[in-house]
């Protein structure tokens, strides 16, 4: 969790919700409740959120505010979920999106 900022010179200690577990492609991971799914993934070192439909190229966080839709993944079975604006919940099932599904090409 080297990416998490523990204490910030201006903002002080980073405040987070309670710790929850979720799965990413079947692997169990930890994050904080209410933070964007993408933040929990980033803290766990996950950069690739999906592979594009036509060229099968990797994509990840780009705008982080729900505009660009590049960070979409399959969440609890639903594709095209913007992980940068979707709060993390206990037990969420997060999967890499291939095209528009969780099935690898």
């Amino acid at each position: 969790m080297a990416d998490r900022i523990i204490e910030h010179p201006i903002l002080g200690k980073t405040e987070k919700g309670k710790k929850v577990t979720f799965t990413f492609d079947g692997k169990e991971m930890e994050g904080y409740e209410g933070e964007p799914i993408s933040v929990a993934l980033k803290a766990a070192g996950v950069m690739k959120h999906r592979y594009t439909k036509k060229e099968h190229k990797p994509r990840g966080i780009f705008c982080a505010i729900g505009r660009c839709t590049d960070c979409v993944m399959v969440v609890d079975g639903k594709p095209n979920v913007r992980t940068c604006v979707t709060p993390l919940k206990e037990g969420m099932k997060v999967q890499t999106q291939y095209g528009v599904s969780a099935e690898p090409f």
Partner: protein
């Protein structure tokens, strides 16, 4: 349409450029070369380009590429960017599931 281009204008031969395979519309994976070629195919307005190639028609609805596409089309037509009308703005402005869109709560 306020800006009607002279359709008989000669754009010259399509000359390939080294960065033609660069993705411009990230959602629909449309390249610079495809956009340039589309102009040579007779697509002179942003609306026509959209219908022809689906640029700006993906999930993000052109949030990222609108200006980039416009610049490429303007360059190809050798006109300034501001004479190109942007694409129509329509609801829904943000990605929304059809199920939600159809559910009127009041």
């Amino acid at each position: 349409m306020e800006n009607i281009f002279d359709r008989s204008v000669d754009l010259g031969e399509f000359v390939p450029q080294p960065d033609d395979d660069m993705i411009v519309c990230r959602c629909e994976e449309v390249t610079k070369g495809q956009i340039r070629q589309a102009v040579h195919d007779g697509m002179f307005t942003i609306t026509e380009i959209r219908r022809y190639l689906r640029t700006g028609m993906g999930l993000c609805q052109g949030q990222t590429c609108a200006k980039l596409v416009k610049r490429i089309v303007a360059n190809e037509l050798k006109v300034s960017m501001d004479v190109l009308e942007p694409a129509s703005s329509r609801a829904p402005m943000r990605p929304i599931e059809m199920e939600v869109f159809a559910r009127e709560n009041n």
